[in-house]
Symmetry: C2
Subunit: 391 residues, 2 copies
């Protein structure tokens, strides 16, 4: 594998295809904010402004602006989105709504703390790109809100009652680890370091089942951690697990922690062994730890983002462990991912394939896909490859 | 097509396979209520008691007990479920919770009015089977609760805010029409007849777009009814539409309304033309009115219930219109449905297939499949066929 050629392919895809697609199609020049429901050719098929999707665009354009000394229009796109979202997106208690309509009127209540999570990331990246204090204040405010809400993330919209056991959710902790890393990176702040340590420990010690070699999504806070008697307890999300593990490796590298590097790399091996579709290739969306029927109809579909996260996880682990397994796995996944998700006719990649790898939706962006997983993957993989070339 | 042979096949499937499967596996003899998360062989893979699923079992066993002078154990199964659900299932304002745990402790809040809908149907069927006044009172109470909640169906769990346009939801009106029919049939009550008439008119006049020949799921209450600019406005659910149309035909037959018969039959033709997968056969789960990308990942899957509803709709229309189109369509759908959904090795049918018709889940029951659509279809189709034999 010629690492330099691979890196150039990733960089070319990012800077020649993906960024231009979003620059051209996502900006709502009339009302502010972004269109994310973009069809194959970039045409808009819905104008709802989902907060996760919006803030991730702010984050990504700000990140690229800062990292590459990019053209001024990138930070301008990010800034205009930021202005729209902070002007319209905050509810009474400071939490961000889940969605606004095109004009900026709130359309879905702030029932989900990941709106705050991505607001914190977006604002922090704006601070790193510009050095303006207001962005730092917003990042801290959204980050504190995320932490405050972790104990009761859905607030008054919580539908779960006492008949269902309380659970720890892997997603909340993995995102806390990632957020804290970003805050330190963008703000230079150590305020969240202890939260990060706690999150890393929780993810790697409580959600990983070393006997089954499976990373769980929901565990019991007390007693036996793994509930194998319910669909909720057996729920597995391989893409989430792989994303989580490269977050762990980021922390491990910064803290020069070989034990954590070895553990995260081992967990990646476990997730890939369990989550790979041996028949058609690619990684499943959802699984059941005991391979019982899954609650979700679309469990066996192949989504762009778990494949993006798998590629990053493999390269991170390859670089930090030098174990040849990871570069082999990267090559295999790189082939499957680029062959199946990249649209041969238009720029940007497909989001959703069936188990066989056939395209089921023509969309390039929507309620759950925006300018985020794919460009972050291309950028992060290129950075890993660059370091490996220099090693 | 030999109608008698077809009828015997449907009856044999119902009485020799489907009813025995649920009799054997669904009853929770320890805590009361039912198991509905049943794997291929009937083994339990989750014990959550979802209220729609629970009440539908009460309804179906009571219905069969009444209709067939069936064995005493059928009404006994229904009665024990009813006792469990009324003892544990009601929240403070009389609305039914969405789910209980195995022991009967509420696990999911009463955020959904279809829990009340299926409670009303179950209690009404119990009254018809037994004549006991308490069941009638419960049916009326749940029915009134359903009607009361129609204006604000999610109550305090509503997440939609003013930035999203208010919509009329087809599901609420089609179920009101069905519920009112059942109340009249089971209770002999005319109390809900005017609500039924209003529901029938709303479904057939407001949700049907005669130019596009598509039945919509969400329409605007004022002004132009069809919103073609949003995913929500363009959302189509062919199985829902077909189910709705045989509810309309039930009303039309009882009221000897030839105009409604012709209209519902015409709508069935429109739905089948739009909703049929021309490449792989079967009926899509969700569609977009303009064939733009669908919000739901599983839009192209083939589910057992739309096929059950399509079979009933075709036979109802065939009998009431004598148009040979419907019997031809029935034969075609009968073949596709029995070939793809019936499990060749174990009793009961599969629920979920991919677009090609390949089984994606081994479950026979779950959060959304219970002893309802399939047995109702087999029973209703056999009854239609019997009448057609005698015509």
């Amino acid at each position: 594998m010629d690492l330099k050629l691979v890196r150039q392919r990733y960089e070319s895809e990012l800077y020649d295809k993906i960024i231009p697609f979003w620059e051209e199609h996502c900006v709502d020049r009339e009302f502010g904010g972004y269109f994310t429901s973009l069809d194959r050719d970039g045409s808009v098929y819905d104008t709802e402004k989902y907060m996760w999707m919006q803030w991730r665009i702010v984050y990504m354009f700000a990140k690229f602006a800062a990292a590459n000394n990019g053209p001024a229009r990138w930070i301008d796109i990010a800034r205009k989105g930021y202005d729209f979202l902070t002007a319209h997106g905050k509810s009474g208690d400071g939490s961000y709504y889940f969605a606004l309509n095109r004009q900026g009127v709130p359309s879905v209540a702030p029932y989900n703390i990941f709106s705050d999570c991505f607001a914190a990331m977006g604002a922090a990246a704006m601070y790193k790109a510009t050095g303006e204090a207001k962005y730092r204040a917003e990042a801290d405010s959204a980050m504190r809100n995320y932490i405050r809400r972790m104990d009761d993330p859905k607030g008054r919209w919580e539908k779960t009652l006492s008949g269902r056991p309380a659970r720890l959710s892997h997603g909340h902790f993995m995102m806390l680890a990632n957020l804290a890393f970003e805050m330190r990176d963008c703000l230079g702040s150590c305020e969240y370091d202890s939260a990060a340590e706690e999150a890393v420990r929780t993810v790697t010690e409580r959600f990983w089942n070393p006997e089954m070699r499976i990373l769980f999504e929901n565990v019991n806070p007390e007693g036996e951690p793994f509930d194998l008697d319910s669909c909720e307890g057996r729920m597995i999300n391989p893409g989430h697990g792989l994303e989580s593990m490269w977050f762990m490796l980021q922390h491990a590298e910064r803290n020069a922690d070989p034990v954590l590097i070895a553990k995260a790399a081992d967990i990646i091996k476990g997730i890939l062994a369990f989550g790979t579709d041996q028949e058609y290739g690619g990684i499943y969306y959802f699984m059941d730890a005991l391979r019982k029927p899954h609650l979700e109809l679309q469990w066996d579909m192949k989504l762009w983002w778990p494949h993006c996260e798998a590629l990053i996880a493999c390269l991170f682990a390859a670089r930090l462990t030098k174990d040849p397994f990871f570069l082999e796995k990267f090559a295999e996944l790189d082939n499957w991912t680029w062959t199946h998700f990249k649209d041969p006719e238009y720029p940007e990649w497909f989001a959703y394939l069936n188990r066989r790898g056939e395209v089921t939706h023509t969309l390039k962006g929507g309620k759950w896909k925006t300018f985020f997983h794919l460009p972050r993957m291309l950028f992060t993989c290129a950075a890993q490859l660059k370091k490996m070339e220099n090693d």
